[in-house]
């Protein structure tokens, strides 16, 4: 899956996802990616988020929506990402999930659960493209 959040020169925020889902899934199964608030979510007032990993779990917690609400409640992007995944870890401590969060001012952060080797993500602004790797809880 790819999940992305972008802000253009006019300050307009958008997000999106694209995936072919899980290998060997039961036919008809759909993950979090096409579900608003699960795979991604944006609100011009505060920012946006995109989640990836085990979609069967992510969609039960609407992790992207939760992260955006965390921004609305005053958290910075890193705090928002961690708090959103905190909702998952209490119920599914072994779930594998990553999330990126971008606030409306262009500040960003990420968090992950149980992804071996950490969770990589890519950022590009006027500076050169940067690859980041966040360690998982």
């Amino acid at each position: 899956t790819i999940g992305a959040v972008a802000i253009d020169r006019q300050g307009r925020i958008a997000s999106g996802t694209s995936t072919n889902g899980m290998n060997h899934k039961i036919p008809g199964r759909v993950g979090d990616s096409p579900i608003p608030g699960a795979g991604s979510y944006v609100d011009q007032d505060v920012g946006g988020a995109a989640a990836t990993g085990d979609g069967d779990i992510i969609m039960r917690f609407l992790s992207s929506y939760q992260a955006v609400e965390n921004l609305r409640n005053g958290m910075d992007p890193i705090q928002a990402a961690n708090a959103a995944l905190g909702r998952i870890i209490r119920k599914y401590p072994k779930a594998q999930v990553g999330i990126v969060v971008l606030d409306i001012h262009g500040n960003y952060g990420a968090a992950c659960l149980n992804i071996d080797g950490g969770f990589p993500f890519i950022v590009r602004s006027w500076a050169e493209q940067s690859k980041h790797l966040v360690k998982c809880v």
């Binding site: 972008a6 996802t17 072919n20 608003p36 590009r124």
Partner: protein, 184 residues
């Protein structure tokens, strides 16, 4: 520090990021940048986790899920279990722009895509066919069934429901299936 314009994406898909950035740099909209980034991954089949030719289901078929959301207007277009159309994110954008619905699924999403001018074609690849064949030779392992018989940990289907009081399969194995090459 905050900088605008900006694009951020999950996983190390740098070419997708660059595709999105190239539009932002040209003063195009964030919506178009999202389509460009996701389309690039669909074309590149990023880690076989995006686009056609990856993640075959139990029948060996690849289906696509995609969504786009506009933060200004709260418009959304989404497709799920899209069959036989390669352009998942573009079809999702078409749902947003040419309907007042939010999500279309399955064969009906395919019909919509064709009506909007997209092509119908197979989403299988040599890689996905090979993955499917290897999965069958491994006794259909891993899979996502539980509380069915025959025991899904040892046998392929078809399955029938198991009395939950008779035997309850532990589903902790499921967490081991997800990794950086197999994710939503």
């Amino acid at each position: 520090a905050g900088h605008i314009p900006i694009i951020i994406n999950t996983w190390a898909f740098d070419q997708a990021n660059e595709a999105g950035w190239s539009l932002l740099e040209k003063n195009e909209s964030s919506l178009n940048a999202i389509v460009a980034a996701c389309s690039k991954c669909e074309y590149l089949q990023c880690d076989h986790t995006v686009g056609w030719g990856g993640s075959p289901d139990e029948n060996g078929e690849t289906t696509l899920d995609a969504m786009i959301m506009d933060g200004v207007t709260h418009r959304i277009g989404s497709v799920a279990a899209l069959r036989q159309v390669k352009n998942g994110i573009s079809v999702a954008k078409a749902v947003m722009e040419h309907s007042s619905h939010t999500m279309l699924v399955g064969d009906q999403a395919t019909d919509f895509a064709i009506a909007m001018g997209f092509s119908k074609e197979s989403l299988s690849s040599d890689w996905s066919i090979d993955q499917f064949e290897k999965w069958k030779t491994r006794g259909c392992q891993p899979n996502y069934w539980k509380n069915v018989h025959p025991n899904p940990r040892n046998y392929c289907g078809p399955y029938k429901p198991q009395d939950l009081n008779e035997f309850h399969h532990d589903n902790k194995f499921l967490y081991k299936i997800v990794d950086r090459n197999n994710h939503d």
